[in-house]
Symmetry: C3
Subunit: 208 residues, 3 copies
């Protein structure tokens, strides 16, 4: 398959994962049908929307193409219908979500490269693409964004981004770069959750 095909598949899988995660968060908050749809939508397209706004690539992607909207609608419907199978779904959801941030990190970095931006900025855009949908979801649900608490989303994305540019510097084959970047993001997050692993909090000795 060409890179563009790989991209489309990756993008759609990520979109599905985030839509389901948003829908489930909204269901837990006991929102109504449209509330669930909207949170699913914002979780899924939020990161890419902020990325597109920052680099000035407007109208943003989901306004130019309806693909995401259809994918999100059916994913949210599926989340609503199968919400009571959650115990079975939870593991696969977690895996999808984790694959999603791995893939959206790559898409954000590639978009930065497409606009000839500095690697540092590309990594920031990859992190924004992967994480800020979840940040918006948490803000709309009035919780401290999970990205900044236990699950080290951002840490995983930044690490993956660094791997991306190290491999790119040594002219590694692109498919391998993608594989190892997503692999890095996914394994850091998997290990973080499975081993209750987290980056050390920055502790203060003095009392305020």
């Amino acid at each position: 398959m060409s890179n563009i095909d790989v991209f489309l598949i990756v993008d759609i899988l990520g979109t599905i994962a985030f839509a389901i995660s948003g829908a489930l968060a909204a269901i837990r908050k006991r929102m109504d049908f449209f509330g669930v749809l909207i949170i699913a939508f914002v979780t899924s397209v939020g990161g890419g929307t902020i990325r597109d706004l920052l680099i000035g690539d407007t109208p943003v992607t989901w306004i130019r193409s309806l693909t995401s909207s259809y994918v999100i609608f059916f994913s949210a419907m599926a989340a609503i219908i199968f919400r009571n199978k959650l115990k079975i779904l939870r593991t696969s959801l977690f895996l999808f979500d984790t694959i999603g941030i791995g893939l959206f990190t790559i898409i954000g970095i590639e978009k930065g490269l497409m606009f000839h931006l500095h690697p540092f900025v590309c990594i920031a855009l990859g992190t924004v693409s992967a994480c800020f949908g979840g940040v918006l979801r948490d803000i709309l649900c009035n919780e401290i964004p999970v990205i900044f608490r236990k699950e080290i989303y951002a840490t995983a994305c930044i690490s993956g981004g660094i791997i991306f540019f190290i491999l790119r510097h040594f002219s590694v084959n692109q498919d391998i770069i993608y594989l190892l970047t997503a692999g890095t993001v996914i394994s850091i997050r998997l290990m973080a959750v499975i081993k209750s692993w987290s980056f050390p909090k920055i502790e203060m000795n003095t009392k305020k």
Copy 2:
């Protein structure tokens, strides 16, 4: 009156309603004078600003024209001066606010059509225009956005948008389209509040 005149009036009435609603929310949170002004401003222009950013129509409207700013300033002043008449004001405020979301839904949809966007995207932009000022107000006041709780704002706007495009498909006269679209939004929200009506929450059977 021409359509443009109708638009201007509708836009200004909506702006007034949202400015007052924002000012009252800020007064309830015991903010100071400028805090009240800023929340009134954000509530009023927030939805349209996000819509303009998403479609890349920048500088955003309130930067190009000062009309909104003047209207908001005087509305917020009025809200501050008459805040103790709130019992009397409350019904008319609720009506203004409800008319506001009806009218801003139309304005958002028309802006989408102006940019030749798909009906689905137009309805999303109408909903954004009508609802996200209130979302920003609630986020700045640190509450769960009311849109996602009881008052089915979004549901009303999306329903109105669907009516808009059904009528448009049958080439109905534009004034009638506007009237029925706003009417749909307004009646759904009125019924929702008067009858404590709301879309069914999506309940979960399993314990997490």
Copy 3:
């Protein structure tokens, strides 16, 4: 020194102050290393980013130039390393932060003038530049944005902006305009905090 040199220095000092303030807020919330970096970044570039988006000046500044990113990285590292010296740091931090909003107010206003915008809009952009980084910091930390509570940030910025345009109307020398604008912002905020001074809350007589 030329105005551009003065600007760069002012900009960098403001960036440092906000980065440290963001980092300390994140440390207090017990975030991990990357969480601290991200909050420092958002606090520092948030206001300018929203300003640039509103006027359509994209890609936003920190994507075009890496200067801010380097400054923020080293400031956040310094905040982490010296966090236990906080008692000593607190006064200088407060001063830096206060100088920061004074300087960012000027930068926002000048950017508005560069785009030939109305004085009212320029003052709004100055306030956005100076205050909204802190608003984003507080939202991400799930607190009511401090701007709307005690510290009258916005009031200080708006007052400084009014002074700016009054002096400009009388063709006062630009250096003096800058000095008096920043001086106004800084003294209002200093007085507000030192004297526990605040604009009167808008009280309501009626019970809701």
